[in-house]
Symmetry: C2
Subunit: 392 residues, 2 copies
Amino acid sequence: MPSKTAIASIPLATVRYCGLMAEFSFHIHKTDGRARTGEIRMARGTIRTPAFMPVGTAATVKAMKPDDVRAAGADIILGNTYHLMLRPGAERMARLGGLHRFMNWPHPILTDSGGYQVMSLGALVKMREEGVSFQSHVDGAKHFVSPERSIEIQRLLGSDIVMAFDECTPFPATRERAESSMRLSMRWAKRSRDEFLKSDQGALFGIQQGSMFPDLRQESADKLQEIGFEGYAIGGLAVGEGQQAMFEVLDYAPGMLPAEKPRYLMGVGKPSDIIGAVMRGIDMFDCVLPTRSGRTAQAFTLGGTLNLRNARHAEDSGPLDAGCPCPVCASYSRAYLHHLFKAGEMLGAMLLTEHNIWHYQDLMRGLRDAISKGKVEAFARDRLSRYSAAAE
Amino acid sequence: MPSKTAIASIPLATVRYCGLMAEFSFHIHKTDGRARTGEIRMARGTIRTPAFMPVGTAATVKAMKPDDVRAAGADIILGNTYHLMLRPGAERMARLGGLHRFMNWPHPILTDSGGYQVMSLGALVKMREEGVSFQSHVDGAKHFVSPERSIEIQRLLGSDIVMAFDECTPFPATRERAESSMRLSMRWAKRSRDEFLKSDQGALFGIQQGSMFPDLRQESADKLQEIGFEGYAIGGLAVGEGQQAMFEVLDYAPGMLPAEKPRYLMGVGKPSDIIGAVMRGIDMFDCVLPTRSGRTAQAFTLGGTLNLRNARHAEDSGPLDAGCPCPVCASYSRAYLHHLFKAGEMLGAMLLTEHNIWHYQDLMRGLRDAISKGKVEAFARDRLSRYSAAAE
């Protein structure tokens, strides 16, 4: 746990969070093969694992009210540091009482470090040992983010789980590129930890890099444990390598990280990705897929994915997914959802996002339950066979 | 009430509604000057009057879930026959069980006749004695709507309050144009009634026309009462004449209609329009203003209208409207709403639409309560002085 050192450098608005947020513990209740189920306990709430975190990029899980995100079963959401530092801005957010209050989500929030999106969304990006300078995609303003500034921003936002600042190594990468990128990320991880320890707000997760090279993944895992974190993320996956290549890394990478700490696979993924990753020892996930798909008429169901724009749904008075416990499936027909998307009505995106978030949370409930009962293999086999029904 | 004549021509899917929907009665509990408060009782629910009906154009009150529309206090919503006949189509809607089931709104629905929007939104519109032919703005398909077809469509949708098919006389109109337009509408009103009486579904309202000419308004009112309707609408207002000219008509037009039947002012309006119209004896309203404004960052508050995009809200941690009982004002700041609109987030439209609908329903609650207590003048004076605070 972070030490209780000087808080003199913390802006006034966040000081009141400090006592609240220093609590962090992970309890594994049951393992089944390499899969584990348990809970992370934090001051703002308990996170049941394996957990899926809906993405709330710009201080909103797009097209959903926070009460509905919670009702779907989400214990924690993710906020994007890059977007929030540009708009409304970290200092402004702190003056407004922090991200939780701003967006009316009193439960835990994990923030990414901003590194990935600075490098993929920023313009005129320049990376140096010190940090990264770039221009905002919002207004063209110049910004500089270092490990220290990333941690400061996340503290200003009021984050419960802070991520170390790193470079997400692009895929594919030569061994040389993967090595130098990983080593830079490890130096930044140390600087992130040093900055983080200046306050006692929440938890800090380190991020393993190393691309597709087992020895680099091992070196990264060793470096991170030497520094010491409350949890460990696996980075540099879900960047175009495909499920098979990802699973090959997940066959060994989680085992390099301490078993008693939460493991978080960043930016993953499709339901079948999540099932495969849970079977390989992952505890936490985030992905824009359920929310983004909800806005583009793509539905996740127990019978595979559906495109609600497809004309075959126009007179289908049945629910989107007969096996789904969500309020959307209880009250609306496929025909109605089809109509809303054809008519360009916002309610289409609202309802389908809600259903998709329920689908993901229901999958996590199913996985937790199956692991508890020692039946995760059978659960996974059943789910995967359903999902493999022809996608539209 | 409509007679129980042959139902042979009614499509199968709507037959089951018939017994359910023949109930309609209006009870005035209290009058205060010309203002009245009471309730309309129908099989699907009771409508407290004066009532504001949120507009659900394409089978959705835009950006709101129906449960939230209900929670705001709406007893009835309006559906647009023109939009629904084009998409998803009246016969398809009937096959899917009707509009209530389709959109998950089990409470009363009033449908307009389609006439106004055929003539304002259709292309290549041709009007004859028989009816109106036009091309769809959705797919260019040719359509024909007559009084008979309009009533049939509204029956297929499952409407609780059906509107007679009419021509909304454009403003300004010469006396000659206003007279011939009104007389056509009265012939169509008779044909609408004849068609309506072939089933016993719900209630049919006639629509008074006559533009700004008192003798034409009187002739129209007389014709409508000769035919006989469950309620009477005042049409041809809120078409650009301005509040003063509208109130001049409302000083006499409602008194030409039977006092014991509901009076509905179509397409109105701003809160101050509604207050002035209630004081002149109107019982029902509909308008897109609260929903449309909600999508364009315009807020109705007790301190006047606000534009949430205005930079002065960027660091305002206070609620949108301190006096508002709505869930949005209870949980979100002006700064957050400002952020959502600046970031182009759908949640901005969702929350502001909800607030605006609450504001309108709260105004109607206030009016009903004030009339009950014989204090509508004082209530109106107080509200109007607040609303006149500088708008943004």
